[in-house]
């Protein structure tokens, strides 16, 4: 479980996050939604410690993460996996080397054992016969799947996904969403997904936090979102005419 208590963060003199609190439960796909520039990515980067926070607290189970020094954080980071917006695969490494990298860095496994784990992770994300390819030779969807394979290589307890569907076609987006949801349940991970893809929200939204202008405006799940009276949320979720009709019929 990850708990965030009243965190605030300013960047370049502008308050990007304002007193945000939330609880992210294990075995669930927790979504942070909001329009572009609302502070979702900053929120996620604060949670994982890539950005320091100005005030508040971030708890990983019963450990106060934001107070830890570099070495202590490192131990928790070994239990984290992250899928970045642009996949963030290492350009100079092949698919196999990318997935093997965390195993090389943090385990004492033999090469054979690592290879078995790498192949298992790649098969889990439906990538086969691509071990020797470089990231530049992969499609957008494949890159995301390899990044997920790398993220789960060390069997993490926490998975973070920053806009996993950006740049993908709707069908591939669904594949990625399903993959994230399945892996979350399989490994009983606490998964936090940043997204503004409404298909994802309706498919994966077991817990949804809506962020607007750096503030948490609404919290609920995918069934509650249809009945919400939060004006800002409705403007975001039901932005087009078809979605508005859907909302009306749900009422």
């Amino acid at each position: 479980m990850i708990r965030v208590d009243n965190i605030s963060k300013s960047l370049g003199g502008r308050e990007v996050l304002k007193d945000v609190s939330a609880v992210f439960e294990p075995g669930k796909t927790n979504l942070i939604i909001g329009k572009s520039g609302s502070g979702k990515t900053v929120f996620l980067k604060c949670i994982v410690g890539l950005f320091g926070i100005d005030s508040g607290a971030i708890w990983y189970s019963d450990i106060l993460f934001n107070e830890l020094d570099f070495r202590a954080r490192k131990e928790i980071r070994k239990e984290m996996g992250m899928l970045f917006q642009g996949s963030a695969l290492f350009d100079s490494m092949t698919v196999e080397e990318n997935v093997r990298f965390p195993l090389d860095m943090f385990t004492t496994m033999t090469y054979g054992e690592k290879l078995v784990r790498v192949n298992f992770c790649l098969e889990r994300v439906n990538i086969t016969d691509s071990n020797r390819l470089l990231p530049s030779e992969l499609s957008g969807g494949m890159k995301k799947r390899v990044a997920i394979a790398r993220a789960i290589a060390l069997k993490p307890r926490y998975l973070f996904c920053d806009e996993p569907n950006s740049g993908l076609d709707p069908k591939t987006s669904i594949v990625i969403d399903e993959l994230i949801r399945e892996i979350t349940v399989e490994l009983n991970m606490t998964t936090i997904v940043n997204t503004h893809d409404m298909n994802s929200v309706m498919e994966n939204g077991e817990k949804i936090i809506f962020v607007e202008e750096g503030e948490k405006c609404w919290e609920g799940n995918k069934s509650q979102i249809l009945k919400s009276d939060c004006k800002l949320l409705n403007e975001f979720v039901f932005a087009n005419a078809l979605a508005k009709q859907l909302k009306e019929s749900a009422r």
Binding site: K74, K78, M82, G86, M105
Partner: protein
């Protein structure tokens, strides 16, 4: 201006602190260093050889034209070319060229890693990204650049000999006698010491420029340019200090 200089200087030392912390897995760092030896060292041999050959040739021709006087023995052309190559050109000029080739390569590589979130990915895994990316580059250039300097010295002197004798400004026996005459071995040591300092400046200054990039491809390009400019300025500054310290 002063604030920017001081904050940049502070960022440089903080980055060095991160770079020289204990490596997580020495075996992986060793593998990375081997890769960098190829990428930053072996792949620079070509340009260093070509430039040094023509540099040696031009130094020999210019020395010949500037000492066209019956009272000067012609072997002094070889001596002058040798000392110019060893003392200054093979260390400083080659370092400036490498600042352009290797420095911009390092800054753009690390800058691209920054803007594509590869450095964030390393940090998130708990890897000391500065040490993992930069330390192998520093070690590789510190190991290989002295060899580049030696290659440059040899190629420069050979270039001077071939072009000098072909152009008819000096005979082969005079040139060979000149490059052996009053040879001071310490000059080689001096040149290699300078090379080590310059190698360190090129890799660390360029790495910093790449590491602190924010934005996109435009900023990566700017960082690459800054890496070359700052490395070159620091090389010239340190050259003056080292020359005073080592030759006075």
């Amino acid at each position: 201006m002063t604030f920017r200089f001081l904050s940049g200087f502070g960022a440089y030392w903080m980055l060095l602190g991160k770079v020289f912390s204990r490596p997580e897995k020495p075996a992986i760092y060793y593998r990375q260093t081997m890769k960098e030896l190829v990428s930053l060292g072996l792949r620079s041999i070509g340009i260093v050889t070509i430039i040094s050959f023509f540099m040696g040739a031009v130094i020999t021709l210019q020395t010949a034209y500037n000492t066209e006087n019956p009272i000067y023995p012609t072997y002094l052309i070889g001596l002058g070319a040798r000392d110019s190559i060893i003392l200054e050109f093979s260390s400083t000029i080659v370092a400036l060229i490498l600042a352009g080739k290797v420095g911009s390569n390092i800054a753009s590589e690390i800058g691209t890693m920054r803007v594509t979130e590869q450095i964030d990915a390393l940090e998130l895994m708990g890897v000391n990204s500065a040490s993992y990316i930069i330390l192998p580059k520093v070690v590789a250039t510190l190991i290989f650049n002295p060899f580049l300097t030696l290659i440059s010295i040899i190629t420069g002197i050979v270039g001077g000999w071939i072009v000098g004798t072909t152009a008819g400004v000096i005979t082969s026996p005079d040139y060979i006698y000149g490059i052996q005459y009053a040879f001071i071995p310490y000059y080689i040591t001096y040149s290699l010491i300078k090379t080590l300092f310059f190698a360190f400046i090129i890799t660390t200054v360029s790495s910093l420029q790449g590491y602190i990039v924010e934005g996109g491809s435009l900023e990566v390009g700017r960082a690459s340019t800054k890496a070359v400019v700052y490395s070159s300025v620091f090389i010239l500054l340190v050259n003056v200090i080292l020359t005073q310290l080592l030759l006075s």
